[in-house]
Symmetry: C2
């Protein structure tokens, strides 16, 4: 069962965490662990019980990668990301009771932005908003963070570029930093949303990115650097673990039902929710440059999609491969410019399940490379 691939690396994270966490962190980490486990169980139990309500409410889709076969005729409930997101919000809420750090405002701001994003994402799933709204919604949802953000507005300048700013290592972006935060939210949410369309991919990529973020945080719990901001850096990474661990747990439960053959679809709700959670975590724990290393498949997919996104190449509603009923495999459509079709052009026709495994492996490979480059990238930055 490929889902084991989503679980096994977690134990690696635990090992690094045990290695690096301090005694005084364990109360918060243990509470997070217990709440995340509960979050997993509740999501896992609740989805099968409630999914028919979604179909009854008209929230369903047909699996177009199985068109012409019996499973392609079945109504699959859509937007079940609502359940994992709601359980996630509850976990984050209760976790606050056990948190020791004092950045309550930013924690609440992240919480509010994610909640607002889930609301707007679900509204999008229900109302099928026009494409242009998809860019505006994450911008709107990031407003709570933008108005509440009181942290620094400086970015680290990579060493080779410092000559541009008179050798300084920190560049205060001022108001531009707020623009940067807003753009990161828009990028993360939409990058996941347009790298989708086959069973298991949206949740699969998100779970793998979550694991990479968790590894990064655990590795950074004993940060290097100047003595005076060590404690601050440590707090940042604890903060990020607080946000990402429950996300990993609830998404894992969702992935069980979304994996091929999908019993539920996750909806824009999930894509927006996942992207916003990553953006909040990276912004508030100040590792957005590292996060982008984990988003390399999404970046490639986005850049490769640009000709269709801006309308140079015609863009259909779904940019999926063609399902060949005779072979049971998906075949690349050359005019659909995205990573799914590009992969199929390289590998040749694959079944939907094989394709998802290939793409998840690619994601894992990029994240692992990102983690390896991380140490080098941090030196390059600091």
């Amino acid at each position: 069962m490929p889902l084991l691939g989503f679980v096994l690396p977690f134990f690696g994270f635990l090992v690094v965490l045990v290695q690096n966490a301090r005694v005084e962190d364990w109360k918060e980490l243990a509470a997070n662990g217990v709440l995340s486990l509960l979050g997993f169980v509740v999501t896992f139990k609740f989805i099968p019980r409630i999914k028919d309500k979604f179909t009854e409410a008209g929230l369903f889709g047909y699996d177009i990668n199985k068109k012409g076969l019996a499973p392609g005729e079945k109504k699959i409930p859509e937007a079940l990301g609502l359940i994992s997101a709601t359980v996630y919000i509850l976990c984050i809420c209760l976790l606050h009771l056990f948190r020791q750090s004092n950045n309550v405002e930013l924690y609440t701001a992240a919480f509010a932005s994610v909640t607002f994003m889930v609301l707007l994402g679900f509204a999008d799933d229900v109302l099928n908003l026009k494409w242009r709204y998809k860019l505006i919604l994450p911008l709107v949802a990031s407003l709570p963070l933008l108005v509440l953000y009181t942290g620094g507005t400086s970015v680290l300048v990579p060493k080779p570029l410092r000559f541009l700013v008179h050798g300084r290592s920190l560049l205060d972006l001022g108001i531009l930093y707020y623009v940067y935060m807003a753009l990161l939210s828009v990028f993360c949410t939409n990058a996941i949303n347009i790298y989708a369309g086959i069973n298991g991919l949206e949740v699969g990529q998100s779970v793998i990115i979550a694991l990479a973020v968790l590894f990064h945080n655990a590795l950074q719990l004993r940060p290097h650097g100047s003595k005076d901001n060590l404690e601050l850096l440590r707090q940042n990474h604890l903060f990020s673990i607080d946000l990402i661990l429950p996300f990993y747990a609830t998404s894992l439960a969702l992935s069980y039902y979304n994996w091929y053959p999908a019993k539920v679809f996750v909806g824009d709700t999930f894509c927006y929710f996942a992207g916003m959670t990553f953006a909040m975590s990276a912004i508030l724990a100040h590792f957005s440059e590292i996060l982008l290393l984990f988003f390399i498949p999404q970046l490639i997919n986005f850049i490769y999609s640009i000709p269709q996104l801006i309308g140079i190449v015609p863009c259909p509603r779904h940019r999926l491969p063609r399902f060949n009923r005779d072979t049971g495999k998906l075949e690349a459509i050359h005019t659909n410019l995205n990573l799914i079709n590009l992969t199929l052009r390289i590998t040749g026709p694959l079944t939907e399940r094989q394709l998802c495994i290939v793409l998840c492996t690619l994601q894992a490979f990029c994240c692992a490379t990102g983690l390896l480059l991380r140490a080098w990238a941090l030196t390059w930055l600091s």
Copy 2:
């Protein structure tokens, strides 16, 4: 046009406000005024543009009080409270930039709880959750407030009851205060939700209660009492105006479309949203006892409904009066125990429009009485 009745008292509020506000409050109040006006305009313009999307998405209902007539056959879009609530959340968010008081945490907690409530309310409208969930959802949504609340946990003991607590004026409820806050959220949301069913009533009662709360706050901006907590009391009432003025503005825009004959329905989304906004405002500005004075019709409706709510009397899905197609009037159904039918038993058959005006007038009367009793109640409490 009866909607004028919702607007004219607002000028009374402005007069009291000008009388009582200090020079240093005006920056915040002016920002609130401008944002609320913008909120009104955006809601007013946006609802007609988006309402057909709701119908297309299967979010619509038939107007059962017009059954058998042409308007009763028309699909009326449902859950448009989502629009006024989303615009409200944006207003509250932007208003933060102009707020001068330093209770950021509580403001964000209120914000998060209201957003979460709108999400769950909209999910309820879409998924048609079972009745038992209706009690749980507000409880869940109030969690952000409960975990973030760091204010006092004491209540004022009314003078005649002080002998019970050895003459003390303040009673520290401790953990029970949290139970009290949760119950108030559940009561306010459901009290509005079950006092509904005829065109304009849900929004009408909410707009009138909002006006009463605004009046109360404006009157209290020059509080009496001991000198040392005067500033704190003033901040509380500014805080409450911050939360309620944009609510009044966006709900007013919604009421234009929901008024008889309704072009849109507001949905559980609106009822939950309104109730939660009132609860947050009253809890955080510490006037929940006064708020209950404005909720007297809802209290009567709730108490009168109990036999049906707990199942002693059979409870149909809608507990509405009977529409008489020949007279065009609504007639009381004696077994439907709510304030709508009780009113019809007293007044005799009324048209839906007349009935809504009568019930709104009753609401206004109770709120005005509450405001008059307020001074006496405050003496009685302090």
